[in-house]
Amino acid sequence: MGSRNLFVAAGVGLAILGGCQSAPPKPEEMARTSLQTAPADLQLICANAAAGTAKVDSTKVLPTSSRQLDAMSYSVDLDAGGQKFNCIVDNNGSVRSVQPVA
């Protein structure tokens, strides 16, 4: 193999390796806590949905905890005027379910 071919092969190899690395986060996303809660806007979308389900004024619905389920969705626990609910919401802000918790 000539030196030119070697150079091309090395370049392809590096490109493949580069493709395997995960992209760095955007500058505005370069901070987090190890407590991986749902983004605030998604928690509030769930609070709004739970207010409708519970028929409670939305000013009385507060997300109390949340966690990431997978790359696309979050689970949010809510208190709606004393009633407990669980909500599943996806990254696009679509509420998949709102269920009372016994």
Binding site: E28, L35, A40, D41, L44, T59, G81
Partner: protein, 219 residues
């Protein structure tokens, strides 16, 4: 079993029980040089600020997408992620970095801005006076100014017509933004709290989200 050994076991148990909780709340920043997430504690934060004279980019004021039914002017505080959002029209919010209550001092709820002040007087609450000698000497009130821990502006949070004793305020320790450091107040750097103060109206709704809160207000 000796008393000292019993005490040691109790402390060990407490350490085991509390350890994961403390670890869960660890702030991390992305190191672009090593391409790794690294822990960001008070010491590292102070070093970063001394080196760069500013906060990590994520904690600086910026406009971000924010999907919400809350009306513009509403303040939303994500205590776990150390961000304060001021809702703007068009699905956006201004995001500011904040410092929040340390372990046991976090709270959540739905309150409102009851009043605001420029270069506010700081009067430590009786419980802080009781536990902190530095606070005790200002029990009658510390006048506003560059050394005042409330910083340049304060937004006083009310539950109905009742002062919650919690505030959103500036700080003389800007490197603490992004950390769990306060006694329950929300701290911002002075430029940011001045900007927020200029945009917020008395009466604005404030939603405080904090997983693991020790206290709930207004709900």
């Amino acid at each position: 079993m000796t008393r000292a050994r019993k005490l040691g076991l109790v402390m060990l148990a407490a350490g085991v029980c509390l350890g994961p909780l403390v670890a869960l709340a660890q702030t991390q920043i992305y190191d672009a040089k090593t391409k790794k997430w690294v822990n960001y504690d008070k010491k590292k934060a102070r070093q970063y600020f001394a080196r760069n004279n500013q906060l990590p980019e994520a904690f600086r004021r910026q406009v971000v997408p924010f999907r919400t039914a809350e009306k513009p002017g509403t303040i939303i505080i994500d205590g776990n992620q150390h961000f304060l959002y001021l809702v703007q029209p068009g699905g956006q919010a201004i995001r500011y970095g904040i410092g929040v209550g340390r372990e046991g001092f976090g709270w959540a709820g739905i309150v409102r801005v009851g009043r605001t002040a420029e270069w506010p007087t700081w009067t430590p609450p009786p419980e802080m006076v009781a536990r902190d000698p530095n606070a005790a000497k200002w029990a009658a009130g510390m006048p506003g100014g560059p050394d005042n821990p409330l910083g340049a502006r304060a937004l006083y949070l009310y539950e109905g017509d009742q002062d919650t004793i919690y505030r959103i305020h500036g700080t003389v320790e800007p490197w603490t933004i992004g950390l769990d450091v306060s006694s329950g107040c929300i701290r911002m750097n002075n430029d940011d709290v001045t900007d927020l103060h200029s945009r917020v109206e008395v009466g604005a709704k404030v939603i405080v989200l904090m997983q693991g809160a020790a206290l709930y207000k207004g709900v």
